[in-house]
């Protein structure tokens, strides 16, 4: 049983102090939102998904066994909610471009390359995108990733390796195509 700050809060929430859930939301909202944003690639939808995930977490808080970290459990909810949403509503390429405007704010020199990277990531399978997204969120250990993806750690390691290779291959193809059109 985990006895960290989250665990103490959870016990108090379950004992009736439900307003304390706001503290858990405050603590984990950035990460939950960022995870949803990386999977969905649309700010408004990502926020909606993050909110829904917190509501689900609250609803099923009593069933949370506290054998793992609350954050890992929450991210699994966010991840599953986002993946389900993505399957139901295919995100358009335009929304990714809009998203890029938000966080690619540096020099125009590498802008093309960044655009190609975004394209390459988008061409990865849903599963590879998810794996690679979680991998680059460096706060997660391989074991935590395994728990979120509900696969053994070794399988996750192999999946990350393959996804990275695929990404490199796709990027290479895109760059080759671009060089030919110039």
């Amino acid at each position: 049983m985990v006895t960290d700050a989250d665990s103490i809060l959870i016990n108090r929430i379950l004992a009736g102090e439900q307003h304390l859930f706001a503290q858990l939301v405050n603590k984990h909202k950035s990460y939950a939102y960022s995870l949803a944003l990386r999977i969905i690639e649309n700010k408004a939808d990502a926020e909606e998904i993050a909110q829904d995930s917190f509501i689900k977490a609250f609803k099923y808080l009593a069933s949370f066994q506290q054998e793992s970290k609350f954050s890992t459990w929450l991210y699994r909810i966010v991840f599953n909610t986002a993946i389900t949403y993505k399957r139901k509503n295919k995100v358009s390429w335009q929304s990714i471009e809009q998203l890029q405007k938000g966080y690619w704010q540096d020099d125009a020199e590498q802008a093309d390359k960044k655009k190609f990277i975004a394209q390459a990531i988008h061409q990865l399978s849903e599963q590879d995108q998810a794996v690679i997204t979680l991998y680059y969120m460096q706060e997660l250990s391989l074991e935590e990733m395994a728990e979120i993806l509900q696969s053994p750690a070794n399988t996750v390691k192999v999946r990350v390796h393959r996804a990275r290779l695929k990404l490199a291959e796709i990027l290479k193809t895109i760059l080759k195509k671009e060089a030919l059109t110039l």
């Binding site: 307003h19 405050n26 909202k29 944003l37 390359k113 680059y136 390796h161 990275r164 290779l165 990027l171």
Partner: protein
């Protein structure tokens, strides 16, 4: 996939993941300086990493927490029944069940009930003056009432589980 003379793309990942020893790092960085292809790959992989790590800094809207808490309150209001209300419901179910069982034991529902279609709806008689005997139904009142009692008991048990037993044992588990 080979990158440079000695280094593969996997080595670039190892460098970026901080999995290289200090000696390896020195050799790798020296190779980057001399090998344009390796430099290109490193730049690409770095950009990929950047693509993900920059978005990590994203923050949801300012009212995010309040919105979540408001939604939670709304959801709770929709689905939860207060303990007082659930106890009243449970008492109601019990009273109805006991009352019906008492009436059954007194033999109130012992006589079978009969429904005659022509009596229920005179229009039937108009169109079918020679109604066969099938138009007359006999209902065993005792079976019907016993069925209602059983249904009431099931509802009572579900209510007892959801509103009293489950919260009680969950509370005990948390405090153990």
């Amino acid at each position: 996939m080979s990158v440079g003379k000695n280094f593969k793309r996997e080595d670039v990942w190892r460098y970026l993941d901080h999995d290289m020893s200090e000696e390896e790092k020195i050799v790798f960085l020296a190779a980057v300086k001399t090998d344009k292809n390796l430099e290109k790959i490193l730049e690409e992989e770095n950009l990929i990493r950047l693509h993900f790590t920059r978005i990590k800094l994203s923050e949801p809207s300012a009212g995010f927490t309040n919105l979540v808490m408001e939604k939670i309150q709304k959801v709770q209001g929709e689905f939860s029944i207060s303990i007082k209300r659930s106890m009243l419901l449970l008492a109601g179910v019990l009273v109805v069940t006991l009352l019906t069982a008492f009436l059954v034991s007194k033999g109130i529902f012992d006589s079978p009930g009969t429904i005659k279609l022509p009596e229920v709806n005179p229009v039937v008689n108009q169109y079918l003056p020679n109604m066969p005997e099938a138009s007359q139904f006999t209902i065993n009142n005792k079976i019907v009432v016993n069925g209602i009692i059983i249904l009431n008991l099931i509802i009572g048990f579900v209510l007892l589980d959801r509103t009293v037993l489950r919260p009680f044992f969950q509370k005990r588990m948390r405090h153990s």
